[in-house]
Amino acid sequence: MTLLENKPADIPAPREITTKPRVSDKIFRGVVTAGGLSSLVILGFILIFLAYQGYDVLKAQGFGFITGSAWNVFTDESGNIDYTQTKFGIAAMLIGTILCATIAVVIAVPISVLTALYLSFYAPATVKKFMIAIIDLMAAFPSVLFGIWGFFVLMPSAEYWAKLLHKYLGFLPFFDMQVPVYTRSPFIAGVVLAIMIIPIVTSISREIFGQTPLDRIQAAYALGATRWSMIKAVVIPYGRSGVVGGAMLGLGRAMGETVAVYTVLNIVYQINWQVLLGAGGNVASMILLKFGEAGTGEIKALMAAGLVLFLLTLVVNSIADLIVKSTGAKGR
C-alpha cells in the first residue's frame, strides 16, 4: 500500500495562524470602503464645482452677495457680464427662504408631535400600523404633486385662513398688510411646506418617543399617573431635544424645496416680512425661475446662489443630526 505510506515530505506544513485578512478580504474591504467613501466624494465635488463656477460672481460681489438684494444684470457688447455695474444679491430670497421654512416648522411641529404621541401611546395596534403606512406614503409623494394640489385645492382655503388671521390677529406686525393681496403668499407656501415636512418630523419624533425607557413609563403608571401626566413627566423631558432635532431636519427640508414653492409662491424680488402678502421668495425656486432666461454670466451667479443654499441646508441638517443622535445615545 504505497498510498498510505507516510513520507515525511508529504505532510503538509500546518497552516500559519494569523489574523491578517486574506487577499480576497483585502479586495473586498477596499471595494466596500471605496463605495462607502463615495458620499464624501460626491459632497466634496458638489462643493468644489459650485464654488468653482460661482467664484467669479462671489469675488466680484464679495459679501454683498448675501447682504444685497438687487439682481440687475448688465452686459457689454460681446455679452459678457459687466461686473462694475451688475449687482447680484440674494438677501431677499434668503429671508424669504427662512420665512417660509419657519412658517412651515411652526405649523408642522405641533401637529407632528401630537401625531407622534398619538401613534406611540394612544393608537390601537391596527390603527397604528395603518397610520404609519399612510404617513410614510406621504413622505414618498413627489413635490410637484404637493405644489399643484396646493395651488388648486389648498389655495382657496388657505387664502380664507389668511384673511381670518389678518382680521383677528392683524395687530401683530407680521400679520399686518397694507395691500390686500392674499393670493400666493409666503403663508400659503409655508402651509404647503408644512404638509410636506409633517411625515419626516413625525417619524423622527415617533422614533425618539419610542426610545423612552419602558421602566420609567411603567413606573409613572404604577404611581397612578394618567396617560397625559405620564407623557408630561417622562416622555417629553426625555424626547424634547430629539424633537428639536427633528424640527430642524424639517427646517432643512423646507429650505431646499423648489417646485412646490415655485408653484404656490409669487416670487417677487424684494424683502418682504408680511407673511400674508402675496410676494415672497425662496433661493431654490429663484434659481429655477431665473435659469430659463439666464445667460452664461447669470448662470454663474445662480451657481453661487446654489452654493449658499447647499451650505445653509448642510449646516442646518448637520446640527439637526447631531441633536437627534445625542438624544438617542443618552439612553437609560
Binding site: D25, T33, L114, M138, V144, I195, G256, A284, S318
Partner: protein, 350 residues
C-alpha cells in the same frame, strides 16, 4: 361526587362598557348639536367654523364629564386626548384630500392614447384625447433605471461598510449620508450642470438627468439597506465565519442573501424617492415632446416634466393633462410603495 368547575369566561374589564360607549356617543352628539346651533346663531360660517366649534365643544363636554367622574387629573387627560386626536386628524387630512382630488380631477384624462402617443403633434388647446405621455413614461423609466444602475452598488456598498466593516470612517460616513439626504434637489441639478453638462457635453440630455437622480437616490438606498442589514442576526455572521468563510464569503453568501428582500425594498424606496423629482430634470433634460430612447443625445421627456409643462401652459386642456399625468405618477409611486411594504412584511413574517 363530581363537582363541575365552571371556568370563568375571560373578560376584558379594560374595554368600554356599553354604558361608557353611550356616554362617548352622546358627547359627540352634544358637540355636533352645539356646533350647529353656534354656527347658526353667530356670524361664523363655513366648514372651518363647524370643525373648530365641534372640537372645542366636545373637548369642553369631555372635560366637565371627566372632572365630575374622576377629578382634575382625569380631566386634563381628556383634554390631552382631544388634542392628540386632532393632531392626528390634521396630519392625515391632506393625504386623503390629495388622493381624492387627484383621482377626481385626473380620471377624466385617462384614455388609451395616453400610453401610445407622445406630445410632438399636439398643441396646448387640443382636446385631451390628442397626444399622450408615452415619451414621458419611457423617459422616466430610462433615467430612473440608469440612475439605479449606479446608485444601487454605491448605496448597498455604503450600507455594507457601515454594518459589516465598521471601519474608522463609519461614523463620518453615516453623518455624510445623512447630510447627503438633505441636499436640495435643485443643488444636485446645478452640480451636474456645472460638473458634467457645461464642461463635457455642452448639451442637455437624459443622462445628465439620471446623474442628478443618482445623487438623490444614494442616501435613501444606503440608509434603508443599513437598517435592513442591522436586522440580520449576528449568529448568521458568526456561523459563516465559524465555517471557515472569509469575511467576503460570509457577506456575499450569507448576509446579503438573508437580507435580499429588504435590500430590494431599499431599491424600490430609492426609485419611489426620485420618480417624481422635478427640479433637477427641469435644469438638465430639456424636456422633449417626442419619444427619445437615447439618453445621451437630445432632450428627453419625463413624467414630472410633463406635469410641470402642462401646468405651466395654463389652458383648460393642459391643466386636465397635468392632473392625469399626476394620476399616472401617483399610481406608479403607490405601486412601488405597496410592493416595498409587501416585501418588508414578508421578511418579518418568515
Amino acid at each position: 361526587m363530581s363537582t363541575v368547575i365552571a371556568t370563568p369566561k375571560p373578560g376584558k374589564p379594560w374595554t368600554a362598557t356599553p354604558q361608557q360607549r353611550l356616554i362617548t356617543a352622546s358627547i359627540y352628539l352634544g358637540a355636533v348639536l352645539v356646533s350647529f346651533t353656534l354656527v347658526a346663531i353667530t356670524p361664523m360660517k363655513g366648514k372651518l367654523a363647524y370643525f373648530v366649534v365641534f372640537f372645542f365643544s366636545s373637548l369642553l363636554i369631555d372635560f366637565i364629564l371627566s372632572y365630575i367622574q374622576r377629578g382634575m387629573a382625569s380631566a386634563k387627560d381628556a383634554i390631552a386626548r382631544g388634542f392628540v386626536s386632532v393632531g392626528m386628524t390634521l396630519a392625515v387630512l391632506p393625504i386623503f384630500s390629495i388622493l381624492f382630488e387627484v383621482v377626481k380631477r385626473g380620471y377624466k384624462g385617462l384614455n388609451i392614447n395616453l400610453f401610445t402617443k407622445d406630445m410632438s403633434l399636439t398643441s396646448v388647446n387640443d382636446p385631451i384625447g390628442n397626444g399622450g405621455l408615452i415619451h414621458a413614461i419611457t423617459g422616466t423609466i430610462i433615467m430612473v433605471a440608469m440612475a439605479l444602475i449606479v446608485a444601487m452598488p454605491i448605496g448597498i456598498l455604503t450600507a455594507i461598510y457601515l454594518t459589516e466593516i465598521r471601519g474608522k470612517f463609519a461614523a463620518p460616513i453615516k453623518f455624510l449620508v445623512q447630510a447627503m439626504s438633505g441636499v436640495p434637489s435643485i443643488v444636485a441639478g446645478l452640480f451636474i450642470l456645472s460638473a458634467y453638462v457645461y464642461p463635457i457635453t455642452g448639451a442637455l440630455s437624459g443622462f445628465a438627468g439620471s446623474l442628478a437622480l443618482m445623487i438623490l437616490m444614494i442616501p435613501t438606498i444606503a440608509r434603508t439597506s443599513e437598517e435592513v442589514l442591522l436586522l440580520i442576526p449576528n449568529d448568521l455572521r458568526e456561523a459563516g465565519v465559524a465555517l471557515g468563510g472569509t469575511q467576503w464569503r460570509t457577506v456575499a453568501l450569507v448576509v446579503v442573501p438573508a437580507a435580499k428582500s429588504g435590500l430590494v425594498t431599499a431599491l424600490i424606496l430609492g426609485i419611489a424617492r426620485v420618480a417624481g423629482e422635478t427640479a433637477p430634470l427641469v435644469l438638465l433634460t430639456g424636456g422633449g415632446e417626442k419619444v427619445n430612447l437615447n439618453p445621451f443625445d437630445g432632450p428627453m421627456g419625463s413624467l414630472p416634466i410633463y406635469i410641470w409643462k402642462c401646468f405651466g401652459q395654463g389652458t383648460e386642456e393642459s391643466i386636465a393633462r397635468a392632473w392625469s399625468g399626476i394620476l399616472v405618477l401617483l399610481v406608479i409611486v403607490l405601486a412601488l410603495f405597496i410592493s416595498a411594504r409587501f416585501l418588508s412584511e414578508r421578511k418579518v413574517a418568515k
